[in-house]
Amino acid sequence: MGLFSRNKTPKNDWAAMSTVVKVEEKLQALGEITPARRAGVIYRNDDENQFQNKIKIQLNNVLYDGPGATKTSFEITDDDRGMRWIILEDGNFNDLVSSVFTVGNAIGMNDGAGNLLAAVFELYFTGEVEDNTYRSGLRTYWIYRYDRKAFYPFVPTGDKEGERDRPTEARLGQDLRKHGLIIEKSLTEWMGLWGIPF
């Protein structure tokens, strides 16, 4: 934190996405949140793409082969809006984040950068936070948008498009930014994802 430091825009996905690891660690240590075991990467599937049409084999390679592989388990599902989800599961949040990054990175490196939409993490509030702003058990999604290289919180209140808890999201966005998460500055870009399949 320099004297005149501004929120610099990170140059790559890892610089931005990795901030979630530190923030989660900090908040979990405070007894405020706990992460779900699952996270997802959503992208627009392109069958013409050599990598994407063999996605299962490719992901097996990147997640299981080689030293330091996280061996995070994954499944592939298509939603009713024509998008494909890679749903990853890992009890270790650190590994989960690196696997999410790895999956997105692999798709991006193989001519799919334009297809990548978002990475989605799910976290729960476990304690009473500050002045009871967040109730215990509150489920939040932290959406990372690849085109913006930034996160924003998403707290749906229903499955229908538009059903979300805006005041809580705005507050959470501010709090998470204070803790060091790279947050999308423009609220108009905080688009929701209703019906997350995990």
Binding site: D131, G162, K185, S186, M191
Partner: protein
């Protein structure tokens, strides 16, 4: 008392000089206008007298007028102990007597202070703002409002408003005068002369209005500054402003997947839109500017730089 109190605070020199310049311009405009009216043969004392009485009534009764017009209810320390404690603490820091405290029962988040001097001050908050803000944010907001009282902004604005009120009064009078040719026309002004007076009045009115607006903005920044020095927490005010400004409602209804599908047909991807377009069409530039200044002040205060 307050003039010496405020002197203790660090002042934003650029802001102060701009403020004085605006006040000077306003005074200059006022004098020019008076000169013009007298040259045109109007009974300035008559017109000025009526407006003066109106402004003085408004000035001296501002707290009661506001209580009446907003439905604010004055509350006792027993009814609102926490709020009283918070305001007392801040008033002590301003070396100001404890102001009257009022509550407005509405979900709209707002707060204001009024009173011609610190002895006659009133601070009002809505139940909406009490619910929405946490203690730190509410304290910063009340600090800002008390700064208006400490800086005697009511007096400054009352003087500034005098000209605008006067000209709008004249505008109406002249309009009816031209229409029916009665009232002040007994000196035998011809229609053309009146037309010129009317046009000049309109011009003075608009320039005066702009200057008052500029002055209001400067006083607003000034109160942000003084209030932050008193509360020691510019960030609290910035948080509160963001929270109550309604920017929350700019969080969209739209699903992210729609954006991507739409983008497939667009040449400019979402990544290239962003901040620039936000600034261009933003509806609240003054608020953003205030928050920006407060965040910068927060940085400076944190590192002890002035």
């Amino acid at each position: 008392m307050t003039s010496t109190t405020t002197r203790k605070f660090h002042k934003d020199k650029g802001l102060v000089s701009r403020m004085y310049f605006t006040m000077f311009m306003l005074g200059f405009l006022y004098a020019m206008f008076a000169f013009f009216l007298m040259a045109a043969g109007m009974q300035l004392i008559f017109v000025g007298g009526i407006v003066g009485v109106m402004v003085i009534v408004q000035y001296y009764m501002s707290d009661r007028l506001i209580l009446m017009s907003t439905g604010a209810k004055e509350v006792s320390p027993e009814e609102e102990p926490a709020l009283y404690k918070m305001i007392k603490l801040l008033a002590d820091r301003y070396e100001m007597p404890m102001p009257k405290v009022a509550i407005i029962d509405t979900s709209i988040p707002n707060a204001f202070a009024t009173g011609r001097n610190p002895k006659n001050a009133l601070v009002a908050v809505t139940t909406g703002i009490q619910r929405r803000l946490n203690e730190r944010e509410l304290q910063a907001v009340i600090g800002h409002e008390l700064a208006h009282v400490a800086n005697r902004d009511m007096r400054v604005l009352a003087i500034a408003n005098f000209l605008v009120t006067l000209t709008s009064f004249l505008m109406t009078m002249l309009f009816w005068n031209m229409l029916f040719g009665g009232m002040g026309g007994r000196r035998g002004n011809n229609g053309g002369g009146l037309m010129v007076v009317y046009l000049v009045t309109i011009i003075v009115y608009f320039i005066g209005q702009l200057l008052v607006l500029a002055l209001t903005r400067y006083r607003e920044y000034g109160a942000d500054h003084t209030g932050s020095e008193i509360s020691g927490d510019p960030g609290g005010l910035a948080d509160a402003l963001e929270k109550i400004s309604g920017t929350v409602n700019t969080i969209p209804d739209k699903d992210l997947r729609k954006l991507q599908t739409a983008n497939a047909f667009l040449i400019i991807p979402a990544a290239l839109k962003g901040e620039g377009s936000m600034n261009l069409f933003s509806t609240h530039p003054p608020l953003e500017e205030r928050v920006k200044r407060l965040r910068e002040l927060e940085q400076r205060m944190r590192y002890g730089l002035r």
